[in-house]
């Protein structure tokens, strides 16, 4: 994955847990890279290694870390690092979610080695949407859950994100139902 992803993990850990923890995680993962370059592509194993080391150093389950990382990505990294690109993608959450399928297509123009996820929307109603997530990578569905919750927080829209299909349980892909407003139970 591109350096900005690894850098985001670094930022998350340093801001929430301190620089010592980050050093410990990096040591644990056996990573010699001093500082990740945002626009350089790194092997996926580095990102996975960092998450795995973080579970040990921070004594947290991987799901907690990935979820937090999803939220953090939207609320912190993407927002901060890409100006208000996320906000510019929609005036409100539904508009943003509509735009999401396009998002990584354009990102891929910037990053030639990107192996971007694919999002598709279906069952678009006024207060809910079904989001389909396709990826070459494994085990990131909790990350997506965190991302979508982050988006809701970004637009200050109380929403419920619910995974309805699981690739790891044999489904074709992961599927999320996002509900807000009246659709909230």
């Amino acid at each position: 994955m591109y350096g900005l992803v690894n850098k985001a993990i670094e930022d998350l850990v340093t801001i929430k847990f301190g620089a010592d923890k980050w050093d410990a995680i990096k040591r644990k993962a056996g990573i010699e890279v001093d500082s990740f370059i945002s626009n350089d592509a790194y092997p996926d194993c580095i990102t996975y290694g960092l998450v795995e080391a973080a579970t040990e150093v921070l004594q947290l389950p991987a799901s907690t870390i990935l979820y937090a990382f999803g939220e953090f990505w939207v609320l912190h990294t993407a927002k901060k690092g890409y100006g208000d690109m996320l906000s510019a993608a929609g005036r409100d959450m539904p508009e943003f979610l509509d735009y999401l399928p396009q998002f990584h297509t354009r990102v891929a123009l910037l990053f030639p080695h990107l192996k971007p996820p694919r999002f598709e929307c279906s069952d678009r109603r006024s207060n809910q949407i079904t989001m389909h997530y396709f990826s070459e990578r494994k085990g990131l569905s909790v990350f997506v859950e965190g991302l979508l919750n982050g988006v809701a927080k970004l637009y200050e829209t109380p929403a419920l994100v619910e995974q309805t299909r699981f690739k790891e349980k044999g489904d074709d892909h992961d599927e999320f139902l996002v509900r807000w407003g009246d659709a909230l139970p």
Binding site: G3, L4, S35, I37, S38, N39, G81, Y82, G83, D84, M85, S87, A88, A89, G90, R91, E95, D98, Y99, Q102, R106, V107, L109, L110, F111
Partner: protein, 682 residues
């Protein structure tokens, strides 16, 4: 032609004006953002035309548009901050000017402010992607800034480290000019950094003698080669030199290319000074040692001198004592009164004993000091044994002891120093005689061992025997001899030590077996290989055999003349009286010069020449005599109390026919004189 819907989806920010400059249509996104853009609205109320670099007098109308149709039109909305970048499309019948394009936004924030979202743009519009690109570039720039500041900190740390390091550090570029010059360098050389920078390091700061090697070290580091540690002298501001030891390594740029060299070193001037002090000290010590060595060898020499001097001093009076008492006994000075013969004989005997002790002492000391060199030759065993026996025969006879030999026929000869072997045997035999009671028997036996390659000379006696525990101590050097032993076997200590030393010097060993009250066997085991027997036999032994039982002759003032040159009165007297007693006319001389004068005056048949004499010593006299035709062939016997190996060789080289050491064995002297003069002595 595009339908209004198609146009809107492709160009959501477009608008069209007619010839009157009134809005006839507009894209949905534009309408939403600028509500005043409605059909029929005057263009000039909705937009301002931004005429960059255009003349202000010109008016924005159809004519102008047609004229400028190939340029980019920039419009600012009147109701918002929106700026549109547009291209005009001119349509005919009716005349329409259709402006197609999109808002000019540089950041997502501007977009937000304009209330535009990404979706407002047509899909083909690159504005969105450019915006993303700008973001990612910003991101990269931010990365760079972050890294730069991080590296700046590191660089500052490093620079401080280098600058304050307690080691001289110099960085040079590929041309060898100074780029880095730390405080330690400034301290050592007294040259400040700003003065050193950009100067050529090797030629400016390194001593002339070392500049070349430093230069080539830097050059090979720049070539990326491994360089060894280098020691060189740095020039200082005040003209001093400081010795440093440096490692030189290449300086790399980010791409890994070599751009110069870094020298990191240590000031070892003090170390160098310490080293040279050490060297000096070593030199001093060496000098002291060699001086000590010289002193030692001087001491050794003076010890030798002392030994020879002592032996001279001791022997000279002893010669007189022995010689005179022998002459008394022989009746040379007239018949002795009853009761006088025995005590005088005892005096002679004691003298002889004392003499042999001195000889032994001297020998032991010399062998101990490694001063004795063996004079190897083939000796006939029988002859040596007989001669040795003869020397103790008289003593044995007095005690009515029986002397016998049992010689191994397999070993007729042996390669030894004959004189020394005789010394060994005589010592063993005389000990045996001493410690064997009257009427006892003493046997000298030889036994060849072909396999071991040894010849054993064993002396058996029927003497008092020696206790086992004493045997082991018997051969230890005299200094360690038990006093009780020494007393009990008075006189043997040195003799046995000498026997042992001499035997060992021959490469052999000594052994002893004994039974108290029954007798002992002392053996000298010598290396041996069968050799051919010798033809001739030493004259001296024969002579001595001849002398045995000779009747004492009367004093003579006639007969063949012998010059007796000796500064010692007692020596002159002893020898002179003895020779006169044997029919020679003896003329005394006190030094070499007198001796020469006497030769020309008295025409002697032979000259006896003592070596150590005042005014002219014996050697010089001998040489002078030999250089003169008259005395060139005159028989000449050199005499000395010193017993240095050199003396003999020197004397013979100077021209003496024989060499005898004092105290002179008088019968032997007589025999030698006889031989040299070709006359029958006595």
């Amino acid at each position: 032609m595009l339908s209004a819907n198609h146009l809107d989806s492709m160009f959501p920010f477009h608008f069209t004006v007619d010839g009157e400059m009134r809005i006839v249509s507009a894209g949905s996104a534009l309408r939403r953002i600028c509500p005043n853009v409605t059909d029929g609205a005057e263009f000039s109320r909705c937009f301002t035309f931004l005429r960059f670099g255009m003349l202000p007098t010109e008016t924005f109308d159809g004519q102008y548009i047609l004229k400028q149709r190939s340029t980019l039109f920039i419009f600012a909305a009147t109701c918002s901050a929106l700026v549109l970048r547009m291209q005009v499309l001119v349509l005919e019948n009716p005349t329409r000017y259709c402006f197609i394009g999109s808002p000019w936004v540089r950041t997502p924030a501007e977009m937000r402010a304009l209330n535009i979202v990404l979706n407002d743009f047509a899909l083909h519009d690159a504005t969105v992607d450019l915006l993303q690109l700008v973001q990612s570039t910003d991101r990269a720039i931010e990365d760079a800034r972050r890294l730069t500041s991080k590296f700046e900190v590191q660089r500052n740390d490093l620079e401080q480290l280098i600058d304050t390091a307690n080691a001289p550090i110099v960085g040079v570029d590929a041309a060898g000019c100074v780029l880095v010059w730390n405080q330690s360098m400034a301290r050592i050389t007294g040259i400040e950094k700003h003065d050193a920078l950009k100067t050529h390091f090797a030629s400016k700061h390194v001593s002339e003698a070392c500049a070349q090697s430093v230069e080539s070290m830097i050059a090979s580091a720049v070539r990326g080669e491994l360089t060894p540690v280098l020691e060189f002298e740095l020039n200082t501001k005040c003209g001093d030199r400081r010795l440093v030891i440096c490692s030189v390594s290449p300086r790399h740029d980010a791409a890994g290319g070599v751009v110069g060299a870094i020298l990191v070193g240590q000031d070892i001037t003090e170390l160098g000074e310490y080293r040279s002090t050490l060297e000096q000290r070593v030199e001093q010590r060496t000098a002291q040692l060699s001086q000590a060595n010289a002193e030692l060898s001087r001491a050794m020499r003076s010890k030798d001198d002392f030994l020879s001097a002592m032996s001279h001093e001791l022997r000279t009076p002893l010669t007189a004592v022995i010689g005179l008492s022998e002459l008394l006994v022989e009746g040379v000075y007239g018949p002795l009164g009853t009761g006088q013969t025995k005590p005088i004989a005892t005096i002679a005997e004691s003298g002889q004993h004392l003499l042999s002790l001195i000889n032994d002492l001297l020998d032991v000391a010399k062998i101990g000091a490694g001063k004795v060199e063996l004079n190897w030759g083939d000796a006939e065993v029988r002859e040596v044994c007989d001669a040795s026996l003869r020397l103790v025969a008289q003593m044995a006879q007095k005690k009515h002891q029986v002397l016998s030999t049992r010689l191994d026929a397999a070993a007729p000869s042996i390669r030894v120093d004959e004189r020394r072997l005789k010394q060994i045997l005589v010592n063993l035999l005389s000990n045996a005689v001493k410690f064997t009671p009257d009427s006892g028997s003493i046997t000298l036996e030889t036994h060849a061992d072909m396999d071991a390659g040894t010849l054993t000379f064993a002396v058996h006696d029927t003497g008092i025997g020696i206790a086992d525990e004493d045997i082991t101590r018997l051969f230890t050097p005299f200094t360690q001899l038990d006093s009780r032993l020494a007393r009990q076997y008075a006189g043997t200590g040195l003799g046995l030590t000498l026997v042992m030393l001499l035997t060992e010097q021959h490469g052999g060993h000594v052994s002893v077996t004994s039974q108290v009250g029954k007798g002992s066997t002392f053996s000298a085991v010598l290396p041996w290989h069968p050799t051919a027997p010798r033809a001739s036999s030493p004259a001296s032994d024969e002579a001595r055999a001849d002398v045995k039982g000779a009747t004492p002759p009367a004093l003579s003032d006639t007969g063949p003349v012998i010059i007796n040159a000796d500064d010692s009165e007692s020596c002159r007297m002893t020898i002179g009286d003895f020779l006169r007693g044997h029919g020679y006319r003896v003329v005394d001389a006190h030094n070499g010069a007198e001796a020469i004068a006497a030769v020309f005056e008295h025409h002697p048949v032979l000259v006896l020449m003592d070596l150590q004499m005042p005014q002219m010593d014996g050697l010089s006299a001998i040489r002078l005599l030999r250089s003169n035709a008259v005395s060139a062939d005159l028989p000449l016997i050199a005499l000395t109390s010193r017993r240095l190996a050199d003396d003999r060789a020197q004397c013979l080289a100077a021209g003496a026919d024989e060499f005898m050491s004092k105290p002179v064995n008088l019968p032997q002297l007589l025999a030698t004189i006889g031989r040299l003069t070709g006359a029958n002595s006595a």
